[in-house]
Symmetry: C2
Subunit: 218 residues, 2 copies
């Protein structure tokens, strides 16, 4: 499967690239091709240094990455994501887009600040062509832990989406990351529930002296 | 400590009575004294049958239970809770009130339906005398698992409240239930975050074939 990671040079993007590179063809995407290529080279070296096989990691611009992708991972901040998508709109056709995007701001505490659609995922689906299948997932996965390949994760990942096949694909991709457990979170209209958990988890972590807090339903 | 459990004849009330009876003086409360006394007798017999010690469990009306209590557990449904509190208002003075109350309704899915204050806990604090200290907790503890004393629970319990001493008392009471882990959820204004998790957990459980789902932050 060809997976393009927008925000692929960032910390959570790095984790996905490293975790999925054994089985999938990964494209690290950035506005600047040079930066993307450099990051991809680093990730490849890290995998080879660890003696892990690597199906393929390359780097390119967002536009080029999306064009050939089956799955596009949106691991970018909320601020600017809509403008970014509008800029690269012509390159979308029927990809699965995984949104990790959480609209939040920090006052005294982190607060969920959804757009009028109710969630980032619904706003993103609104601006993309209807043929693109948006799936919402991975909001509460620690970037640091994801990028540490020696670590077996033990998180539940709630996956929301309206297209059943796309949701199933994302749940399968989730299972490939040891040991994330995908849970069916329902349609995209339920995405606000898992998006809003992120500021809540950050607040909990700050107050209770934890870091990199995820969630498990028991 | 004298703990009055409103809704003490219900399933979640039973769990608290059984779990706290070894160390505390428990009053099972109900609108009907007979029903409360009968439940209290049953709980005492259950504990004695299991060879567990019991500090004291009695049953009485809501009014009588509240009057002598240090802590009042509000384990009642959202519908009717405000009217119930208004009816028994004269018996409150400076108790700690633990709200487990979640405003939600079922359409296709369970939905969080907060009052204008933003959460049940804030609405409850609004109607009670200012000297009463409302603490919000235990929204996501399975009644069935809580009442099964052979089970070691493994949940995190987020505790929200504006009075630091009251919050600390509830966190200590939480630690006494093996092995619930209290987490400081901040002030009462954050209670909506943990209240709204309840319908989300119920929806997740239904969709993924689980029951009695709780939550753990990892």
């Amino acid at each position: 499967m060809k997976i393009a990671i927008l925000g692929g040079t960032g910390s959570i993007g790095e984790g996905f690239a490293l975790r999925w590179a054994e089985k999938h063809d990964i494209t690290v995407c950035s506005r600047e091709a040079d930066k993307a290529v450099k990051a991809a080279d680093e990730y490849r070296d890290m995998l080879l240094d660890m003696g892990l096989s690597c199906c393929g990691i390359g780097g390119c611009t967002n536009e080029a990455g999306i064009r050939g992708a089956d799955v596009v991972v949106l691991s970018v901040p909320y601020n600017g994501v809509i403008q970014l998508l509008k800029n690269i709109m012509p390159y979308f056709n029927d990809q699965i887009v995984i949104s990790l995007v959480v609209p939040m701001k920090k006052n005294d505490l982190y607060e969920f600040t959804p757009p009028k659609q109710g969630s980032a995922a619904l706003e993103i689906q609104d601006v993309l062509p209807k043929t693109v299948k948006v799936v919402s997932a991975y909001h509460n996965v620690s970037a640091k832990k994801l990028a540490n390949l020696e670590l077996r994760l033990d998180y539940d990942v709630v996956v929301c989406g309206d297209d059943k096949d796309a949701k199933r694909t994302v749940m399968e991709l989730t299972k490939e990351i040891k040991t994330l457990h995908p849970l069916d979170g329902g349609g995209l209209s339920s995405s606000y529930m898992i998006e809003s958990l992120t500021p809540f988890l950050i607040n909990l972590a700050i107050r209770n002296g934890f870091s990199d807090l995820g969630v498990k339903f028991v």
